[in-house]
Symmetry: C2
Subunit: 417 residues, 2 copies
């Protein structure tokens, strides 16, 4: 359920904030030495939901307050959409400008600059899909056959692979450039070296909110019931490590040194206004992947590269609507063989590139495998990420004057250890 589009909050919301009263995302914060709590955010104010809950405002929903006094959202999410949406609705009432009973909530409010946001969920399993047709086509053109860029299975299967859950970290976590085996051009023996081809991948991830039993499958038309919400996702990639290792079993050390999520999980319900059609799927997909309705989302995505002590340059403008395979299809595919899912699993989209050259979602594509230079505002150029560069991903939908976004997903790449 979306919150009234005319509503305003008595908490100040700066222009172009990702967090109007219509968003009400969920995250986990800590302040100083205190315990982590579950929170939401309006404007630049973090709202401590454990503090709010102590006023008894969720008691009629049969929610145990302790679910807000946690280090992860998993137990809260596991309450189910009926309850988590009721919490969103109650928050919208309490902080609506029409509500004059404001004083008692002041102790629950914290400036966002005074808190540290933590990893929102304890990730069970993590899957990374490969669902952008423009991205898959670009990769195929660069490394295989420009005339047959897509592999034979690509339009039949939402191709995906399992990634490493342990190394998914929250925005603001800096990551050291990984070391590993790379095969220098023209050589036959690998060397051990810090990666020379560090890249980001612009992705959006969804977090599941409901579990299934081993052996069960989720139909596409029920899949969204299992999706709690979305985050931005930076699937950092060491292209040289990946290239040498990935045949025949897929990416491993080229990816698992760190992936970064934005700290607020924006609910699927908050994103309802941005539903849109996806690409036409041709050839026709198998029955278990057929779907009805609008399952793509018109969410603007941007990537900025910020060199040390310089201002950021926007190097990519893409959109979540460019997904060929939508989230419902991905989850139906993930479970069609009986694979079980849990609350807190993360399913990332794969790099989201659009059809235009400035919409490509990785430096591999933007620099066309290092053949072109990406120009930055300070006069620098890049083909891949340099040490101490910061990658900033932003994402938001906008409709009827309301902007609902994710906040930034920020990572600085430190030199190799």
């Amino acid at each position: 359920m979306s919150i009234d589009y005319k509503a305003k909050s008595w908490i100040q919301v700066p222009e172009n904030s990702d967090f109007p009263i219509q968003n009400i995302p969920f995250g986990v914060f800590v302040k100083g030495e205190s315990q982590p709590h579950i929170a939401t955010r309006i404007g630049d104010t973090v709202i401590d939901l454990f503090a709010v809950s102590e006023g008894g405002v969720f008691t009629d929903m049969s929610i145990d307050n302790r679910v807000f006094n946690k280090s992860f959202l998993n137990d809260f999410i596991a309450l189910g959409k009926e309850k988590t949406n009721a919490v969103r609705q109650r928050i919208a009432e309490i902080f609506d400008i029409k509500n004059t009973d404001r004083e008692k909530w002041q102790t629950a409010l914290l400036p966002v600059k005074d808190v540290q946001m933590l990893m929102p969920v304890k990730v069970g399993d993590y899957t990374d899909f490969y669902s952008s047709i423009d991205h898959a086509t670009n990769v195929g053109k660069m490394f295989r056959d420009p005339e047959n860029a897509l592999l034979p299975n690509w339009k039949h299967i939402p191709v995906g692979y399992h990634g490493r859950a342990s190394s998914i970290v929250v925005s603001g976590t800096n990551i050291h450039r990984p070391k590993g085996q790379i095969l220098p051009k023209g050589e036959t023996q690998p060397i051990f070296s810090p990666s020379r081809l560090m890249d980001f991948e612009l992705e959006v991830a969804f977090v599941t909110g409901k579990k299934t039993a081993l052996g069960d499958s989720i139909p596409t038309n029920e899949a969204e019931d299992y999706i709690f919400g979305l985050t931005l996702f930076n699937d950092l990639s060491a292209r040289d490590i990946q290239k040498w290792e990935y045949v025949p079993l897929g990416p491993f050390l080229g990816k698992n040194f760190g992936s970064v999520v934005s700290p607020w999980i924006v609910t699927l319900e908050a994103l309802e206004p941005f539903r849109t059609e996806g690409y036409k799927q041709d050839p026709e997909v198998l029955d278990y992947l057929k779907y009805s309705g609008k399952r793509n989302f018109d969410i603007n995505l941007e990537v900025y590269l910020q060199p040390e002590n310089a201002e950021p340059t926007r190097i990519c403008q893409s959109n979540f609507k460019y997904m060929y395979w939508n989230m419902a299809q991905q989850l139906a595919h993930q479970t069609v063989n009986g694979c079980n899912i849990n609350v807190g699993d993360v399913y990332a989209s794969g790099t989201i590139s659009g059809p235009e050259k400035d919409s490509f979602g990785s430096m591999l594509e933007l620099s066309w495998a290092g053949q072109k230079e990406i120009k930055l505002k300070n006069g620098d150029t890049r083909k891949f990420i340099q040490d101490n560069d910061t990658i900033i991903i932003k994402g938001y939908g906008k409709k009827d004057g309301v902007r609902i976004g994710f906040g930034a997903c920020v990572t600085k790449i430190l030199p190799a250890k």
Copy 2:
């Protein structure tokens, strides 16, 4: 630390039992409606360690009894090897035949047939390696070039990929034949069908007992400090689903419908007597993969196939010593880029085939991609697993009259749902 090889227990140990007093593995059991507890096993007797702990026998080790009153071993394992080995040693003293103080332990003893063994650990992340040279060579011969069976990276990298943690289940869990996309021979359009090429993979997995921070690496000569113990592992594989989906990002739905572990984690210390040399690695490996000492283990491995209402036929005899890449190298590789590990991660070996035809660790290899029939005792033949077949994996080391084993890893394949 190994337990005295001359020791005997006052608990009866049948001939050829995997569980003499020198083993003392760890697992989790439940009896009827009661709470799961941590246990060990001698002969056919399960020893409830929570019940044992209530006698105060671990108090001097500063172990909180509650660590035995759990559904998973993770918290116990996280105590560290010093404590977990001290527990093994104390158990060995209590149940040694020289100990005449026996009556008070009777309430902790249960016949194994009266309890249900549960999944021993809550799995964080799961990696599957591909470390048997005979297996990789067989696959290369069948599907690529018999003259150049190994891919260029294989002798440089302990190739691995991330698998699905959620669908790892304990021995005795039956698995439905998965459905999915397959591309029939000669066709260009996939169909949706139950897998027609169901297979097992004979593997051994290790479970980590110590965590690292993101960015840290584990050197080979320290890697075994991070390995708590081993289980047998059946990496069930739907070959037709795998074949159509795996390019370019690796196995996904062909594997993640279920993998099976034996219920007892046998500690690395219990397996000390079976250390042996591995294959000579040529070409020389990069420095971070070099190791000293004996890092392979001489553990006999067997696979039995049992049709419905018939006796089992042994279809494979292999050995864990056939690993080209050892566990220390695998863990060093997994973390060389800074990937972090946690207590309870599972790292499987990949199919363990030996050089002989009857030592191949999968039906794919035993039937040479369906070209040969595997004969069973009841007159049946198989190329792949049929519905209602049960796959039984066994494993044990034997030295100086002492046999230390894993118990069986058993899975029945049920018809597709």
